[in-house]
């Protein structure tokens, strides 16, 4: 049970996929212009990550070492196709906003990285915990970026298709924040903040 908990919390902060291992940047920057899209993207990624982790850890004893990467890719692309088609059917608007980034989950480094570094070597339960932890870690960061960019760049905040915040007509949004340069700006500031936190922790 302790191992399960450790594998779970590891992904959320200590080995956060975005802030610490720095993997899977492309969808993070591309779809975080609105909090709703960012959250939807993280759910799609969570689905693929958790199920591919479970499945790969389940079949790991029968997978020959030389053939593992092609097999991982087939497993991952199957789950990507499932989420691709379900999202197209049930959330067509979100699917349109995410565009090519849904099929591109298949080359997302987080998923192949976790399959190779964790699921291939650990039990099914621990891989489930790892997948959950990594997904939540990813979700927190990408949704945070989405919230910051949407509020500053558009003056609104929409989550789960509900509008939570509207800053009114007198608010003049900084349009650059929802355009491509804003994504690099927020992400760079986040990295600098993480560096500052680490340095402060070492000093004390």
């Amino acid at each position: 049970m302790k191992e399960f908990w450790n594998a779970f919390t590891n992904g959320i902060w200590k080995e956060n996929p975005l802030l610490v291992i720095i993997l899977g940047l492309c969808p993070t920057l591309a779809v975080s212009g609105s909090a709703n899209d960012a959250f939807g993207m993280s759910l799609a990624l969570a689905f693929v990550l958790i199920f591919s982790n479970i499945f790969i850890s389940f079949i790991r004893k029968w997978v020959p070492n030389d053939l593992r990467i092609p097999l991982f890719i087939i497993v991952i692309s199957t789950f990507v196709t499932i989420i691709d088609y379900s999202m197209n059917a049930f959330q067509p608007e979100l699917y349109k906003n995410l565009g090519v980034f849904v099929p591109l989950i298949v080359v997302n480094c987080i998923i192949l990285g976790r399959a190779e570094a964790y699921a291939y070597k650990n039990t099914v339960m621990n891989s489930l915990a790892d997948g959950l932890g990594m997904s939540i870690g990813y979700m927190l960061v990408i949704t945070f970026i989405g919230i910051v960019r949407e509020i500053s760049g558009n003056g609104t905040l929409t989550l789960l298709n509900h509008q939570l915040l509207y800053l009114g007509d007198s608010y003049r949004p900084a349009l650059i924040m929802i355009m491509p340069p804003g994504a690099f700006l927020v992400m760079g500031s986040l990295f600098a903040f993480k560096k500052w936190l680490n340095a402060r922790k070492e000093r004390s």
Binding site: L25, C26, P70, I73, I74, P181, L185, F191, A199
Partner: protein, 197 residues
């Protein structure tokens, strides 16, 4: 947006500059920041991407229109494309190593990296999403890969200059590279809506 009724030059321009794959569309950022420390590496990677992307997007186009579509197997698109690209990169590596040793010495180490480069897969998907004809698809992938090379080489030259610059302690490494990319992206944004694209 790119469509099949644009002429070849417009498709190239739009793919290369206006919808630059790295700075505007945010695809393949891992290699963008990972391999841009030195200009020589960046140039090698860029050349390898141009080479592989043109080959792979032509092959996936043929696969899609002559194999997946007639047999109604569209749901296999993602799986087939990634396997085709991975196999193709392997074959190309073997061919180059055997027949073109000079090229292999300059591109060899970058070729395996390209299998996981999402730009190659993305160009294949986008060319089909835009419903381009075969020739236009080749020009489109040439444009995308030239845009990739252009921005990764520019970033690497900037990062080489930055090594001697007085950068605040917490901004060293990734943060400053992101801020640089942000300014480059801002510059490219100036080209948007050029010729009504």
């Amino acid at each position: 947006m790119i469509s099949n009724d644009m002429n070849l030059f417009m498709i190239f321009l739009s793919a290369c500059i206006i919808n630059n794959i790295l700075l505007i569309r945010f695809i393949a950022l891992c290699s963008f920041f990972g391999l841009s420390n030195e200009t020589e590496t960046a140039l090698g990677m860029g050349m390898a991407v141009i080479f592989v992307m043109i080959m792979s997007s032509s092959v996936t186009w043929i696969f899609f229109h002559y194999f997946l579509e007639p047999f109604n197997l569209l749901f296999l698109r993602t799986t087939v494309f990634i396997l085709v690209i991975a196999t193709l990169v392997q074959l190309e590596e073997m061919y180059i190593r055997k027949n073109l040793p000079v090229l292999y010495r300059s591109l060899g180490i970058y070729l395996p990296l390209i299998t996981t480069n999402c730009a190659v897969l993305a160009a294949a998907f986008l060319g089909i999403d835009y419903k381009l004809s075969f020739v236009k698809n080749v020009v489109y992938s040439l444009g995308v890969s030239c845009g990739y090379t252009l921005s990764i080489v520019l970033l690497s030259t900037l990062r080489e200059r930055m090594r001697t610059a007085p950068i605040p302690k917490y901004f060293l490494g990734y943060p400053i590279a992101f801020f640089t990319a942000s300014l480059m992206s801002l510059a490219l944004l100036g080209f948007s809506h050029l010729f009504g694209l």
